[in-house]
Subunit: 339 residues, 2 copies
DNA sequence: TTGTACGCGTTATCAT
DNA sequence: ATGATAACGCGTACAA
């Protein structure tokens, strides 16, 4: 048990606590020989400054939070959250911050825990369902945060992907390939992601000669089951192509279609959304809208750190671009030849 | 900006710091009316005790770490880690601990960060590849920890699943169904999980009338690619059934088999390992060995907390049981009828 | 350049 | 039952 502290190191080096402290914090005003001597002792003893004391004194814990307000059950079955977490963790490593992970459970009052005095310097929060509005507590806790996804109250810094554009890209691609009856299986209509992708679908259909047919829109919830059922229904209905709200749902939809005797993409074209492995890996390779989720998490941390550096930094709202990744499930090979 | 502290609360209540502190920590020696009065003020002001100060004084941060020493790239593509994390997070919520997540990157010295003085009360660490042995630093940092998976040095508390038994269950099930040429695509041979499942496979084959044929063992690495290639090879070779080292690999193997013109399970039976969604969801439903990964993470935290309560608690080594979950890919329907 | 002394907010020990 | 007071380990203004 080391139980070392500044005093002991100071005694060993024959200097005062302050000097050791200065060495630790790279203060300029330390003579080179003293600095050397102290550093050697620090190395030899394996001394580490006590973080609690440091936090207390400096009012900086160097811990930042990642708050995932989804329900536990569905949280990690979609690769989105793991990848996001990875991005955040990567940034924390980079900037030498400790990452505290808060996953909202049914009972736990995450807000309470996140806003504890002296625990976090700030946090990144994934905006969840629309109805679970950000508690005012979060805001007037006065601890800085950045929202991932669009927040449901204005005046916050946030980072989001352009879901509308992504959907437009997907649908327009299907249109260009000559599909005429293009359906959409939506994501969760309680999320901005789900809603915005639907907006994009509607927009792309309306702006085309095909026009919008509300009957071709089936509501899903980002889960396998909903997509499976929707696809079954669409198989009976007979459509040319489906733009599905997420890759995970797309895979499930494809399964339903195949079981209904349809070939993808020969009989029906599919485009998903996310481009996160491993959902795209199976056959047929999924055409999908790529969101840079990892970079996203990374960037969110950087935005937060900026905010921490400069208290008066303006509110930033960053929309990250998306792009269509064309693989097999949209039938581009079969159709491009035909065109 | 609250910037409240004990003194201010004390003044407002007309008592001393000590009394407020006692109220906060549920000390018995406080009269009921004073307690009431102080609690009301605490509620009204929204006062929260400063955690840094608390940690400094009490030598307890109430933060516990989860250390995932895998490389970033592969980390979250397997559902194992997300689910494990979920279990750990759940336990932390339950016991009112803050969870700090450490994901080892290429450059970052996680050991250094994890063992910082005053940061963590203890941590749970996932044992990674065998060669990256636990640094001695971890051990003589003197901060308590529990290992998930078998540690490569003795004398540590750990929790593990019975990988050998799981493999035996799987292979024996295939044997009972009448398969004769039963192959194995292994997991990563640098992990205990991969090695132990191979041990179980060997054991089950040797103990049966079928005997062990080393040519039926193909090495994988828990990744899609390796399983795909191995399955292609086995398709040519012509085998009856394959016990695959993980569900994720099993899915990939099935894809290779189907593309080679084989039907699963009519032509070839498959059993995987893990039973974590969504790998099992697709068609055919995967027969697999269930590991209670979430409970696992939860339990690991409980073991750690025990250790924290009682410094002199004995080292515990807990082996969690596994069970076979029979679905479609093993061909039980086709074969049971035949038997 | 170095040392002294104070305060960060809390808990714990000792009186009263 | 309550209050004064001393730590916990560190950073820093100020003095030397």
């Amino acid at each position: 048990m080391p139980s070392l502290n500044l005093i002991k190191i100071a005694k060993m080096a024959g200097v005062s606590r302050s000097t050791v402290s200065r060495v630790l914090n790279d203060h300029p005003n330390v003579s080179d020989d003293v600095r050397e001597r102290v550093q050697k002792i620090i190395r030899d003893t394996g001394y580490q400054p006590n973080l609690s004391a440091r936090s207390l004194r400096s009012r900086r814990s160097n811990i930042i939070g990642l708050v995932l307000p989804q329900t536990m059950d569905t949280l990690f079955s979609d690769p989105y959250f793991p990848v996001l977490t990875q991005g955040v963790a990567q940034a924390c490593n980079q900037y030498k911050k400790t990452l505290a992970l808060f996953i909202e459970g049914r009972d736990s009052d995450v807000v309470q825990r996140v806003t504890q005095d002296g625990l976090l310097d700030g946090f990144v929060i994934q905006s969840g369902k629309l109805q679970e509005s950000f508690s005012d507590k979060l805001i007037d806790s006065n601890i800085p945060f950045v929202v991932i996804g669009r927040p449901d109250i204005p005046g916050q810094s946030y980072i989001d992907v352009d879901n509308v554009k992504g959907a437009v890209l997907a649908v327009q691609h299907l249109q260009r390939l000559g599909y005429r009856k293009i359906a959409h299986i939506t994501g969760d209509m309680d999320t901005f992601a789900g809603k915005d992708r639907l907006v994009g679908y509607r927009q792309a259909m309306q702006d085309s000669s095909l026009g919008l047919d509300e009957n071709l829109i089936l509501e899903g919830d980002f889960g396998e089951e909903s997509a499976y059922l929707a696809a079954q229904s669409l198989a009976k209905q007979g459509v040319d192509a489906i733009f599905v709200g997420s890759d995970r749902m797309a895979r499930s939809a494809i399964q339903a279609l195949v079981e209904a005797g349809l070939r993808v993409p020969e009989d029906i074209g599919i485009i998903g959304y996310d481009d996160l492995s491993p959902a795209i890996a199976a056959h047929p390779m999924l055409t999908t809208v790529h969101q840079p989720v990892r970079e996203f998490g990374y960037k969110a941390v950087e935005m937060l750190l900026e905010k921490l550096e400069d208290e008066e930094t303006p509110i930033r709202q960053l929309i990250v671009d998306v792009e269509l990744v064309i693989r097999d499930s949209c039938g581009v090979r079969q159709r491009s030849a035909a065109i």
